[in-house]
Structure formats: structure tokens, C-alpha cells
């Protein structure tokens, strides 16, 4: 009964022309941003945070979560049509989506991606509601040591699950954590690393840093590899898959949606890993595994349902514990902070209209996405075809005005450009950028809770508190295990004549 009452509150927030218009706008922007190669969901959400500045917190978060869910689908459009994934997770969709286009069945590929995304998104939201509410209740009893351990666990899994070099990911996280220590110490009030600059007393503002790391760095990377050759899109057919074809892949969609949501819950795993694992499992379970990679509708459905459902999963730790599970969640956390809200168990008690408003908006956004996808794909494709020579300068202009708008400060603009250069440099040498952001976002949570726990109960609290101890142990092994595996792999003699393994 309580859940029904809460949802009544949630739907009352979104039923009205203004919230519905915001959801539609968010979905359209999300699809377009997701479809543009180079603009990830986190970049799309980061660019729109400043636009939500003067909205009510509920409407702002409804806008941003609508963008989040739709951008995951948007990535599949260019993946299917031109073999250029708009988002990293759509790379898996391209494996079967593009062969469909080559066979003249682009409509079937896009239709399957759309329906699978919608169902995946809905399953993700359902599991989000089922998990987040009870988890938030349990989290009310967590001590500072538990919170510190959970945040460290989140950071450790982000490092261990990132593709590529684990040590580079860890360096990126530590850099973010160290950046977060700049400014006034949250407990003693001592100024740290401000070098007498008043603008640094509160540390770097989160949103400009996010925009710099996610948006400006992408444009800089594009400049470095600039060829001046634009994308070319052929005319596409618009024939959707038949009902029979949909029924054939129903179990694939359902299975992948559940897998995607569960993987999404783990910090750092995200949409891409969810899509790869679901694709692999669907291939193993399929009656026609030989079709995978050659235009299989099952392949498209597995990848898309998993990456869309991972959104719901990733929101579980963010909303229930205040721990972002992905880069986009870190941006959302920044948006919560911008509106003086702290995600976590208290949010469910103090602001149920926001939590259930988000849940309700995600459900509605999925439905809106289905209709817009069915009737608007042709239009989206035209918009996405905008020349990159126009798109990138406009992204830079949005980034600059967005970072200025947060505090009306040119220092934030300078910081945004600075973080853009750092982000480009990191990307160039294979250091992931998302862990830097997660370090910045979780730094305060780790520090405050760690020091509170030590001040209250001494350093032994992390040994005496059972939950904190177990979580820290898991965090330690989840960090050390990939390092050990890489070390073992490195010690084995090369059998195929390939380059030796890189740690």
C-alpha cells in the first residue's frame, strides 16, 4: 500500500503539461545526443545540467534521467546505420545491426533495437524500484565506517572493471580523490591546497569539471584526429520486424534485460559490460548462434535490452546509497548536489516526491521513447547528419556557457577548459576519464565518513564493524584479483607470437 501511495505522489509530480514536455524534450535530446558519435550519455547529461539550474529539483532530475535513458537507445541508431556506435555500449549493437543495414534491413535492426531498449528500460526500472526502496531502508542503519567502506568498494570495482589497464584506472581515481581534497577541509575548516586563491575555498565546482572532462576533452580528441571527412548516411528502408520475429526474440530480450540490470547495479560495470555479457550469453543460448555477427535480430536485441536495462540497475546504488555506479550517475549526483539534495536513504524519507517522480518519469520516458523512435527515426537521422564542423564548435559553446551558468564565475570556465585539457591528455594515453569523475564525486563521502569513523571509534572500527570489514575485504580482492590475473598472464610464455601481455 505504501508503494502505491508513493507512486501516486510520483505520478502527481509528472502529470502535467510541463513535466511531460520536459520528458519529451529530454527523450528527444537524449536520442539525438546518443546517436552522435563522440557524445556519450554522461556528456549529454553533463551538457544539460546547467539548463536545469533554475528548474525545481524534481523537474531537473526528471529531465536528466529522461536524457540518460534515451541516450542509451540513441547510440544504436548510428551503430545500426553507419557502423559508428553513438555510445560505447552500442558497439555491441553494431556487430549485428550494421550487417542488417548492409542486407537492406536497417528498419528491422532499428525496430528491434527500439523495442528491446524499451522493454529493457522498463525491466530495469521495475528492478530499480524493487531493490532501491528496501536497500534505502537498510542503509538508514549504516554507520560512517560502512559508508566509507561502500564508497571504497565502489571505487575499487570501478578500477577493476574498467577496460584496459587497471593501474591507470586506479591512478585516475586517486587523481580525482586528490583533486577533491582541494578547498576547505569539511571537518576542521582548514584551507587545503588553495594557494591563497579565494575561488578555491570551496574546491573546484563539480559541474564545470564534469563538462570539461566529458565534453571538452571529446572535442579536443576529435580535433587531434580531424580529417575533415563527414559522415555519409545512405537512404534507409523503414520496414519494422514482424510480430512473429519479435515473438521469436522475447526470451532473449527478457533474459538480457535481467542480466543488464543486475550488472548495472555493480559500480563501474555499466552498459558496455552489460551489453557484451548479454550478447555472449544470448549467443550461447541461441538456436542460431552462427547468425550472430552476420545480422542476427537476437544479437541486436540482446545488446540493446541489456544496455538500456543497466540504467535502472545503475540508479540503485545512486538513489539508495548515494554511490554512483557509472559516469552518468556521477553527473546525476552532481545535479542532485546542485539542487541541494543528497541521494541516499534520507532522500527516500525527506523527498519521496523526487525519488518516485524519477521512477515514474523513467516509466513514462520509456513509453515516449518507443513512440518517438517509431515515428521520428527518420527525423533523428537527418538531425544527426549535421556536419561535425558545426557540431563540435556548438558543443564547446554549450560547455562554456554551461560552466559559467553554475556560479556566474569565469574561474569555473577556466577550470572547465583546464579539465578538458586534462581529460584529452588522459584519453590520449589510455587513462580512463570516468574514474577521475567518480573520484571527485566520492572523495568527500570517503573522507568525511572515514574521519568521522576514526574520531568516534578509532582505526579499529574498520575491523570491528562487520559490514565495513566484509565490504573492505571484497573491495580489496576486487582490486587485487585483476592485477593478479594480469600478472599471471604476463608470466605465461607467449604461445601465439603476439606481443607480450601488458599489465
Amino acid at each position: 500500500m505504501e508503494l502505491v501511495e508513493s507512486f501516486t505522489i510520483g505520478f502527481s509530480v509528472i502529470l502535467g503539461w510541463k513535466p511531460l514536455l520536459i520528458i519529451v524534450t529530454g527523450v528527444i535530446f537524449g536520442i539525438l545526443a546518443g546517436a552522435m558519435p563522440g557524445l556519450s550519455p554522461s556528456t549529454a547529461v553533463a551538457l544539460l545540467v546547467p539548463f536545469s539550474y533554475t528548474m525545481s529539483p524534481a523537474l531537473a532530475l526528471i529531465l536528466l534521467t529522461s536524457i540518460y535513458i534515451a541516450s542509451n537507445y540513441g547510440g544504436s541508431i548510428t551503430a545500426v546505420l553507419i557502423n559508428t556506435p553513438g555510445t560505447p555500449s552500442a558497439a555491441v549493437t553494431a556487430m549485428d545491426g550494421y550487417p542488417l543495414t548492409q542486407q537492406g534491413k536497417a528498419g528491422k535492426g532499428l525496430g528491434t533495437a527500439l523495442v528491446a531498449s524499451t522493454i529493457g528500460g522498463a525491466v530495469g526500472v521495475l528492478i530499480l524500484i524493487l531493490f532501491a526502496v528496501p536497500l534505502a531502508r537498510v542503509a538508514l542503519k549504516f554507520s560512517p565506517a560502512d559508508y566509507c567502506a561502500l564508497a571504497l568498494f565502489g571505487l575499487a570495482t570501478v578500477a577493476s572493471m574498467s577496460r584496459g589497464n587497471v593501474i591507470k584506472s586506479m591512478v585516475a581515481i586517486l587523481f580525482g580523490l586528490l583533486i577533491k581534497t582541494i578547498g576547505t577541509d569539511p571537518i576542521s575548516g582548514v584551507s587545503r591546497f588553495t594557494f591563497g586563491n579565494d575561488m578555491l575555498y570551496d574546491g573546484f565546482t563539480l559541474i564545470p569539471a564534469l563538462i570539461g572532462l566529458f565534453a571538452i576533452s571529446v572535442v579536443f580528441s576529435k580535433f587531434e584526429t580531424w580529417t575533415g571527412v563527414g559522415r555519409v548516411m545512405d537512404k534507409i528502408d523503414n520496414k519494422l520486424p514482424s510480430m512473429q520475429e519479435f515473438l521469436k526474440i522475447k526470451y532473449t530480450i527478457l533474459r538480457s534485460s535481467i542480466i543488464g540490470t543486475i550488472i548495472g547495479i555493480f559500480p563501474g560495470a555499466g552498459a558496455t559490460i552489460a551489453a557484451f555479457i548479454s550478447y555472449d550469453m544470448s549467443k550461447r543460448a541461441s538456436k542460431e548462434p552462427e547468425k550472430f555477427g552476420h545480422g542476427s535480430l537476437e544479437g541486436v536485441a540482446a545488446a540493446e535490452s541489456a544496455n538500456s536495462s543497466s540504467v535502472g540497475g545503475a540508479l540503485v546504488p545512486l538513489l539508495a546509497l548515494g554511490i554512483p555506479g557509472s559516469a552518468t550517475d556521477a553527473v546525476l549526483l552532481g545535479a542532485f548536489m546542485l539542487h541541494d539534495l543528497v541521494p541516499g536513504p534520507m532522500l527516500f524519507q525527506d523527498n519521496p516526491e523526487i525519488v518516485y517522480g524519477i521512477f515514474s518519469a523513467l516509466i513514462v520516458a520509456n513509453i515516449v521513447m518507443l513512440f518517438l523512435g517509431l515515428y521520428g527515426n527518420r527525423l533523428f537521422i537527418k538531425v544527426v547528419s549535421v556536419p561535425e564542423a558545426i557540431m563540435y564548435p556548438v558543443i564547446l559553446a554549450i560547455a562554456i556557457i554551461g560552466s559559467f551558468a553554475v556560479n556566474g564565475s569565469m574561474f569555473d570556465v577556466a577550470a572547465c577548459i583546464g579539465f578538458g585539457v586534462v581529460g584529452w591528455f588522459f584519453k590520449r594515453y589510455g587513462f580512463p576519464v570516468a574514474p577521475v569523475v567518480l573520484g571527485i564525486v566520492l572523495g568527500k563521502m570517503v573522507e568525511e565518513n572515514f574521519r568521522r569513523a576514526v574520531m568516534m571509534d578509532g582505526y579499529g572500527v574498520f575491523y570491528r564493524d562487520k559490514l565495513a570489514f566484509i565490504v573492505l575485504l571484497i573491495a580489496f580482492f576486487s582490486f587485487v584479483w585483476p592485477l593478479y590475473k594480469a600478472w599471471r598472464h604476463h608470466r605465461q610464455p607467449a604461445t601465439s607470437g603476439n606481443d607480450e601481455a601488458k599489465i
Binding site: P393, V394, I400, W424, R451
Partner: protein
């Protein structure tokens, strides 16, 4: 040691660290591991950055679980892991440097955005945004003047209506403020 936490001491410490790390980079650049020298840049910057901040923490109040505790913890791990990465650069157990892209072109792009930053303060947001968009599009080989004009004007109008009028963001007006 506290001498190095501020003023001349900190400056000397920073310069010494920069010189040492530049020496290490140059050594690597001209050794047989030169293909990995680029990979050493970020670990070296991280080590210098960490050691400079560590010197600053020497001036922080010394108390149990005090303000220096967490920064020093992160600094310790950052130096340790960066040193490991640096070791891999010297032994070739890391990815080779990426191919050199159009760094000059990127430099122009970064230069334009820095010029845009300074222009906002002097020319004001609207004029400098129009100029920035037009020049950047031209730099990216876009050669349709009408579209360039439309995009620039469209962005100025959009930012004026949405940010200036709707969201009440006080965008810098520069010298045109004197004429309003």
C-alpha cells in the same frame, strides 16, 4: 622540512621536481624505450603534483585524523602506482605511445577556446560567442558563409533568450555594457 610547504621553499621544491622529472622524461625519450616515453608523462606529472601537495601538507595542523590524513593517503598511493607505471615504461610492459595526431591543429583549437575565454571578459559573451563559432567552423574547413552566419546568430539568440532572459544568468556584456 616545513620550509618547503610555502613561499620560496615550495617554489624551489616544485622547480627541482619539474627539472628531475623532465630529466627522466628526456632520458627515456632518447633511450631505446623511446616508444614508451609519452606513457611516462602522466605518471611523472602525477608524481610531481603529489609531491608538491605533500610538501604543502607539512604546514597542516598535526592531529589524529586531521586535515592532512586523507590527502597524504591518496598521495602515497598515487606516487606508488605512478612509479609502477613509470617502471613499466622503462621495461616496455605498457602500451606503446599512440600515433602522433594533428597536435598543431589541436593547438589552434585550444588556442581558440582560450582566446574565447579572454574575449568574453572584454568583448562580452554575445560578440565573442559569434566570433568563436564562426572562426572555429572555418578552422574545421566549413565554407558555407550563410550557414556559419546562421549558426552564430542562432546561438547568440538562443543563449540570450534561454540563459540571459529565462534563466537570469548575468552573462558578461563586455564593452557593450557602456552603450546599454
Amino acid at each position: 622540512m616545513e620550509y618547503f610547504s610555502e613561499g620560496t621553499g615550495l617554489f624551489t621544491w616544485t622547480i627541482a621536481l619539474v627539472l628531475i622529472s623532465s630529466g627522466i622524461y628526456t632520458g627515456l625519450r632518447y633511450s631505446r624505450m623511446k616508444d614508451y616515453s609519452g606513457q611516462a608523462i602522466i605518471p611523472l606529472i602525477m608524481i610531481v603534483f603529489s609531491l608538491v601537495l605533500w610538501a604543502v601538507t607539512l604546514d597542516f595542523p598535526t592531529e589524529d585524523a586531521g586535515p592532512a590524513l586523507i590527502p597524504r593517503l591518496w598521495i602515497f598511493w598515487l606516487i606508488l602506482l605512478s612509479t609502477v607505471l613509470l617502471f613499466f615504461c622503462f621495461t616496455g610492459k605498457i602500451d606503446k605511445d599512440p600515433k602522433r595526431g594533428r597536435i598543431g591543429f589541436l593547438g589552434i583549437g585550444v588556442g581558440l577556446i582560450v582566446a574565447y575565454y579572454f574575449a568574453i571578459e572584454h568583448l562580452g559573451y554575445f560578440i565573442s560567442s559569434f566570433l568563436f563559432l564562426a572562426v572555429t567552423m572555418y578552422m574545421l574547413s566549413y565554407r558555407k558563409p550563410i550557414t556559419i552566419l546562421l549558426v552564430g546568430t542562432g546561438w547568440v539568440l538562443f543563449s540570450y533568450l534561454v540563459f540571459y532572459k529565462l534563466l537570469y544568468i548575468q552573462l558578461p556584456l563586455g564593452f557593450i555594457e557602456d552603450f546599454i
